[in-house]
């Protein structure tokens, strides 16, 4: 049995099965809180803890899947390229808005991390929490955070954006459709963008444009701010 558990096939099968269950559940109830990634994560962690199978055994197969994070990030250039033409009229406000958002997110984490004494590792893990997972997990690793904590924080952030974005925009009187899209994409990456697309075409386009740019800004700015502190 050990030979099976320590073969790459085990981790790959477990991941596929858990993600399929997560996808089915999330499609059946169609609720934003039922995120397939979170469901699959809970299922696998629960399974490993119950059976006593180690994380190392799971990762023999899991690492094969994680290698694909690199091409998965590279192709994010395609939605960015498709939306670049929609930048034309308001490119200055949009770029400045995304930069403001990225800095706001970083500043919140740094300030409250210090205030609540979260500790260096945890603060660094939360720093890239507003950007898309393939970028956030590598930025986290680069600045000395724990990628798995970052991934969970990013998912919670995305769900928050998807659930609360329309209400926040209304409450804060953010009425311009371009500003709404930029706000949602910058703060809550692809998960928020799925909601932005439901609000309107302009919001969806602006939100998906903001994902890649916010990720790029954060990847550049976060290490600089950390080294300056």
């Amino acid at each position: 049995m050990n030979a099976i558990i320590n073969s790459p096939l085990f981790g790959i099968l477990l991941s596929l099965a858990a993600f399929e269950i997560g996808t089915v559940i999330s499609k059946k109830w169609r609720h934003t809180l039922l995120n397939p990634l979170l469901i699959a994560n809970v299922l696998i962690v629960g399974f490993l803890l119950t059976t006593g199978i180690s994380l190392e055994s799971y990762n023999v197969g899991g690492n094969y899947i994680a290698v694909m994070l690199s091409p998965a990030t590279v192709v994010l250039a395609i939605p960015l390229y498709r939306q670049i033409s929609s930048l034309k009229k308001y490119w200055k406000p949009i770029l400045a808005g995304i930069l403001t958002g990225s800095l706001t997110s970083i500043a919140c984490v740094l300030f409250f991390g210090k205030l609540l004494n979260l500790g260096d590792t945890l603060t660094r893990s939360l720093l890239p929490k507003s950007i898309t997972i393939p970028m956030g997990s590598v930025v986290s690793e680069q600045i000395g955070g724990i990628p798995s904590v970052t991934i969970i924080a990013i998912t919670i952030t995305g769900i928050t954006g998807a659930v609360a974005a329309p209400a926040i925009c209304k409450l804060c009187r953010i009425k311009h459709s371009v500003a709404q899209g930029v706000a949602i994409g910058t703060a809550s990456h692809a998960l928020g963008t799925s909601r932005a697309m439901e609000i309107g075409e302009v919001q969806g386009a602006m939100s998906s444009l903001s994902i890649g740019l916010a990720g790029l800004f954060t990847a550049i700015v976060a290490p600089i701010i950390l080294s300056a502190l």
């Binding site: 590279v74 929490k129 507003s130 393939p134 798995s148």
Partner: protein, 124 residues
């Protein structure tokens, strides 16, 4: 279709990104450099979106699956961090709301300013 050509293009960009990061020493993660490289190739029309359509659509529509294995490492994180999850959950949610508000305000303010200037500029 040409799946192998599409995969070759995308993985070559991945490797180029890693080379620029590890050997040339650009202080950005290799995969993010790769994304910028592909964006440049698309803007300069050296690569057309349809040349990598199937492979990129596959990755873009199943993105979340590839994060599952790295996310499982959460079980190896110490109790000092896991024990504070209610605080972390609260922080993640409130930071997100603040970020949406600030980003939206800044963008909307700058758009309105630009619109005011343009309408003033167009008057005789």
């Amino acid at each position: 279709m040409r799946i192998f050509r599409q995969l070759t293009i995308i993985f070559a960009i991945c490797v180029a990104g890693e080379i620029l990061h590890r050997i040339v020493g650009i202080p950005l993660p290799g995969n993010i450099i790769g994304m910028v490289l592909l964006l440049i190739l698309l803007c300069t029309k050296l690569v057309k979106p349809q040349q990598i359509a199937e492979v990129s659509n596959f990755f873009l529509s199943h993105l979340a699956f590839f994060f599952l294995p790295p996310s499982i490492a959460i079980m190896a994180v110490g109790d000092d961090i896991l024990g504070r999850w209610p605080l972390l959950l609260f922080l993640c949610i409130s930071f997100t709301l603040v970020t949406i508000a600030f980003t939206g305000w800044a963008t909307q303010f700058l758009i309105r300013r630009q619109e005011r200037r343009e309408s003033r500029g167009s008057e005789p």
